[in-house]
């Protein structure tokens, strides 16, 4: 009977632990909302998009430029990293000798483990001055896009590679039997067959890019504006929080939590999209 009690206790303990871990995400949502609430009740939520600027101490809460900044950086990083990532995966899978491919993958996984603050340091000290020589001030949308692209490239390349590895060999063999050239086999068969995996990897990368804080905080200049060119500085939702959180008060602080909520919604959107893709693949 004491055995059964031990089992019951173990069960109860594990159950409690999993309730705790399940509740964290609800807690996060709840607290973001709770801290935003005073401001949400006070002003029309549309003002977060419509206010002409971000001057939270003077009652202007326009988050739109930051929202645009986040999206632009993410889209930009994707435009740079996605083709490169796919090409690298194709290289590793189809063109490189096995040893080189393995070494390359090892290099990619090493890179995916480098912390973002180190990328930020590199961007600030090496990349931004180079861009400044072309067009000041150097810390800019472009710097952010490039550093983020480098950062998410390994994620995209590795998941594209994994997706292509799981394409059944018979497909490629069949295509070869039909007299397809290597290029046609890669672009016509392997990549379309691996598309769900590639897209999931890209969304993963995009999620990482939009949630990234340190890099954009360090290399983007943090000016609140919708940029006219890639050389203009921008501020993202994440950088906005990191920059002002430590001293923000009352409404200002609440506004930062609103931008946190906004960010959370965007990321949840990404998750939902990738889930629906995965569900579709499983359906097939």
């Amino acid at each position: 009977m004491s055995l059964a009690r031990t089992e019951r206790m173990l069960y109860a303990g594990c159950r409690l632990a999993s309730i705790c871990s399940g509740l964290i995400v609800l807690f996060i949502g709840f607290f973001l909302f709770k801290e935003s609430l005073p401001l949400l009740l006070k002003i029309n939520p549309m003002r977060f998009l419509n206010d002409p600027g971000w001057h939270p101490t003077e009652g202007q809460f326009g988050l739109f430029p930051m929202f645009a900044g986040s999206l632009l950086i993410t889209v930009g990083a994707m435009i740079v990293a996605a083709p490169l990532g796919i090409i690298l995966a194709v290289f590793c899978r189809f063109f490189a000798p096995r040893k080189i491919a393995n070494a390359y993958q090892a290099l990619l996984s090493v890179l995916s483990g480098i912390p973002s603050v180190v990328f930020g340091l590199w961007g600030l000290v090496v990349l931004a001055p180079i861009i400044r020589h072309v067009q000041p001030p150097g810390v800019s949308l472009l710097a952010g896009v490039l550093v983020l692209a480098v950062m998410i490239l390994p994620t995209i390349a590795l998941s594209a590679n994994a997706a292509m590895t799981s394409v059944p060999f018979e497909y490629l063999q069949g295509a070869a039997a039909l007299g397809f050239s290597k290029w046609q086999r890669v672009w016509g068969v392997a990549i379309p067959a691996a598309r769900p995996g590639i897209v999931t990897g890209m969304i993963l990368g995009a999620g990482r890019a939009i949630g990234e804080t340190m890099v954009v905080l360090m290399v983007c200049g943090n000016v609140v504006q919708v940029p006219d060119s890639v050389f203009d500085p921008v501020r993202t939702l994440t950088a906005n929080i990191a920059l002002e959180m430590s001293y923000a008060l009352s409404d200002h602080r609440a506004a930062l939590f609103v931008s946190g909520l906004m960010l959370l919604f965007v990321v949840m959107g990404f998750v939902a999209i990738s889930e629906s893709i995965r569900a579709k693949v499983i359906e097939k």
Binding site: K34, L37, P52, G53, W54, H55, P56, T57, E58, Q60, P129, R132, Q135, P136, P137, G138, V139, G221, N222, V223, V224, P233, R235, L243, E244, S246, Y247, A248, L249, H252
Partner: protein, 288 residues
């Protein structure tokens, strides 16, 4: 509103539960056990706030700790607003504020320890040696956007501005009659040091920072140049005589009438022995 009240009631209960379980958990941690003296607030002072005051406060704290071994003084930056907020909420024992208290803040106790000015800095290699108040305005409004227009090199101006909430920003905009909304900046910075670092690394940048911080770093050999404001050079003499136009007090603020270590620290910071330290940091001591 009922909803809010109910939820806060609930959250209080959750909070108590969490704090209870957390403290039990903490009890088990040996690391915490090391610090099991009776009342930690007796021997730890937390100062938060203005990034201008912070280096000075840290230096004073250093000397204070040498005299009182049982006290530990932690200094954290975050802007004057945070100094006020943390002092109000009791997160800090002492807030550091680099401006006068506003009317809404007058329930706090204010203790000036020194004075500081704000000036414009550019890179050492920049040929421009002085700007009129109007030129500064137009630079920050984006109407002057190339050093050529001011007789300098043909290079676009990198305008460095401070993030909202810093008193340096408020003083600057007040003095130059700028509105925060009309400032067209290229880089936004938090701490003074970040502004100095940006200018030191960018020959075409302009920023406004605490004179104390800028003069200190310039003395350390950083390639920056302090510009006069309204033709008054940011020298110690001009600051002391009150001739320099943008002057502000560096305050320590507390919620209650200072007692115990807090009182001792503030007295120490305002004592004549600290004058040399204040001057080493290129700040202006209080007149006797």
């Amino acid at each position: 509103m009922i909803l809010v009240a109910a939820s806060s009631n609930l959250t209080n209960k959750i909070k108590q539960g969490l704090i209870l379980s957390l403290s039990i958990y903490l009890g088990g941690m040996s690391f915490a056990a090391r610090n099991a003296h009776a009342d930690p607030s007796e021997s730890q002072l937390v100062l938060t706030g203005s990034s201008t005051v912070a280096p000075l406060a840290a230096e004073i704290a250093h000397h204070f700790e040498k005299m009182h071994r049982q006290v530990r003084v932690d200094v954290q930056t975050g802007g004057s607003s945070r100094g006020i907020a943390d002092a109000r909420r009791g997160l800090a024992d002492i807030g550091m504020v680099s401006r006068h208290l506003k009317p809404a803040e007058e329930h706090l106790w204010e203790f000036p320890i020194a004075y500081d000015g704000i000036t414009l800095i550019v890179h050492k290699s920049n040929p421009v040696d002085g700007l009129s108040n109007n030129e500064v305005r137009e630079i920050y409004q984006g109407r002057i956007n190339n050093w050529k227009m001011l007789g300098g090199r043909d290079a676009p101006i990198t305008v460095v501005n401070k993030a909202a909430g810093h008193s340096t920003l408020e003083l600057f905009t007040d003095y130059f009659h700028l509105k925060q909304q009309e400032i067209r900046a290229s880089v936004i910075i938090g701490d003074n040091a970040q502004g100095i670092k940006t200018v030191a690394g960018n020959p075409d940048a302009i920023a406004y920072v605490s004179i104390g911080a800028a003069a200190y770093d310039s003395g350390q050999g950083l390639p920056i140049k302090l510009l006069p404001v309204d033709q008054v050079s940011p020298t110690l003499f001009n600051l002391q005589s009150g001739k320099f136009p943008i002057l502000r007090p560096l305050n320590l603020v507390t919620l209650e009438v200072p007692e115990g270590w807090v009182k001792k620290f503030i007295q120490f910071a305002r004592s004549p022995e600290m004058k040399s330290i204040i001057q080493e940091q290129y700040f202006v001591p209080r007149p006797d």
